[in-house]
């Protein structure tokens, strides 16, 4: 499998899109770290950009890449390698390229200018979010052969997780505001990888007071070792679930 991944990465790294993505992230992080006097402010400003841009780029790029290499996947599937290998080499090829872009664009500046635990959490969450949205995109791609539909589903997923979900969660919390909802809001967070990443980073920034009583509960949960592990496991779960579904579909799909 490594042999195929190698060439998938060769191909992607020379793609202008990935190069621009790297530069965009790099300029954004340098700008934010350059302006802020305190390190943590840089992380906070960067957080909001990353939570939008990383999922969007990951999901759109993966979908386009998948459909563009469809004929190539066909040709590979006529070679003596298994479908599973073909699929996973795409997954890892795309992932490693996007993670490399993120690491150069955000990881290195954060390490140089920030270097705190919050910065490290930001980078870790960014990498995990890339993985989550690559696997969601592959899930969308295996649902249909129609490129337009595939991209539509992928964008729908991004829209849901990045924009719609918070509104829906808030509506639920408002409707049942007469009841104690701390546990519920904790559970609602777990159902969205983007929120999970956001809370994880916010808690590291010691600004939970802004979130009121819920904030206190979040603080207690997410800063404890157990909470951290659980949330990272949840993010991994968000990577595995769509990936497994996509993998299964791809094994039996008519190309």
């Amino acid at each position: 499998m490594n042999k195929v991944i190698k060439y998938v990465i060769y191909d992607i790294v020379r793609n202008r899109f990935v190069l621009s993505y790297t530069l965009l992230l790099l300029f954004t992080s340098l700008a934010f770290y350059g302006f802020g006097s305190e390190g943590n402010k840089g992380v906070l400003s960067l957080l909001n950009i990353i939570l939008m841009v990383v999922p969007l780029v990951s999901i759109v790029f993966t979908t386009i890449q998948f459909y563009n290499s469809y004929e190539f996947l066909e040709l590979l599937s006529a070679q003596p390698i298994s479908r599973g290998t073909i699929f996973l080499s795409q997954f890892w090829g795309i992932n490693l390229s996007l993670c490399l872009a993120f690491f150069i664009g955000v990881g290195i500046p954060t390490w140089i200018y920030d270097g705190t635990g919050a910065g490290a959490t930001l980078v870790l969450c960014g990498l995990l979010l890339s993985l989550v949205f690559v696997s969601l995109a592959l899930f969308a791609c295996t649902l249909t052969r129609d490129r337009a539909k595939g991209i539509g589903i992928a964008l729908g997923l991004w829209f849901y997780f990045c924009l719609l979900y918070d509104g829906l969660a808030l509506t639920v919390l408002m409707m049942f505001s007469d009841y104690p909802l701390d546990k519920v809001s904790l559970a609602l967070t777990a159902l969205n990888p983007v929120d999970l990443a956001r809370i994880l980073i916010l808690m590291k920034l010691d600004i939970s007071a802004l979130l009121g009583i819920t904030g206190a509960i979040f603080q207690k949960f997410f800063t404890s070792e157990k909470g951290m592990i659980i949330s990272i496991l949840l993010l991994l779960f968000w990577i595995m679930l769509p990936l497994l579904k996509a993998y299964r579909t791809f094994l039996k799909k008519d190309l």
Binding site: K3, V8, Y10, S69, E71, L75, L76, Q79, P80, L255
Partner: protein, 242 residues
């Protein structure tokens, strides 16, 4: 070498292959023909494992193709449209195929004749995305022949090639056929098929209407040119199948 037993394939409600059975032997050179949408490409894709048959068995060299993907090591496939990763170089693509094929402890001698004949070495460092359709076709042909496979499946091999390259490729196909390889060609260029093939397999609406030696059909129909024979087949289809 290849056997189909009652193979059916449907996409949703549309049945594309209907109860197809046949056996192909080494040394045969088969022209797979039929009108557009008759199921030729689906048949090839099913054989290559890109499409999964709804029912029936396919065996290559005695082994069921569902049991092991290694059977594809015996097959060289030239697709109708070769679309490759845009930023890879020709040399890298060939290198990759070599990595894939030779990993499994089957070090074969590669056949680089076509690389030289098509003068691909001169453009080895060009990214695949910048190549013209014809050049990509040459790359596809080269890849199909590269590993000396016992079975060659060529989907419209000469469409899009210039006359000179087309001749080179046809020469190569004939040469390999004489070495006793099994060759399956689909094409709408009947004159090419006439030169290259020994058998005719005629598909219509997903059914195998006819599979015979070229010489036998010529004798039966009393026609000498393939175009006439096919016209004959299409008009007298009922007579032949009954």
């Amino acid at each position: 070498m290849i056997s189909f037993e009652n193979v059916n394939k449907s996409f949703g409600r549309l049945q594309v292959l209907k109860d197809i059975s046949f056996e192909l032997e080494a040394g045969q050179s088969v022209a797979l023909i039929g009108p557009n949408g008759s199921g030729k490409t689906t048949l090839i894709k099913t054989l290559l494992g890109m499409n999964v048959p709804t029912s029936g068995n396919i065996r290559v060299k005695g082994l069921d193709i569902r049991s092991d993907y290694q059977y594809r090591a015996h097959i060289g496939y030239m697709p109708q449209i070769g679309n490759y990763p845009k930023n890879l170089k020709i040399s890298q693509l060939i290198e990759m195929m070599r990595d894939i094929r030779q990993k499994k402890g089957m070090i074969q001698k590669t056949d680089e004749e076509l690389i030289d004949l098509f003068r691909l070495r001169e453009i080895y460092d060009k990214p695949l995305g910048t190549l013209s359709g014809g050049t990509r076709q040459k790359v596809s042909a080269t890849l199909a022949f590269l590993f000396n496979p016992e079975i060659l499946i060529l989907d419209e091999p000469t469409a899009g090639l210039d006359p000179l390259s087309s001749e080179i490729l046809k020469e190569k196909i004939l040469e390999e056929s004489l070495k006793g390889k099994l060759i399956i060609i689909t094409s709408h260029i009947l004159s090419d098929l006439e030169e290259l093939t020994s058998h005719i397999m005629y598909l219509e609406e997903g059914r195998l209407q006819l599979f015979k030696k070229m010489s036998e059909i010529k004798a039966e129909t009393g026609e000498n040119r393939l175009a006439r024979i096919i016209a004959h087949l299409m008009s007298k289809k009922e007579m032949i199948t009954s």
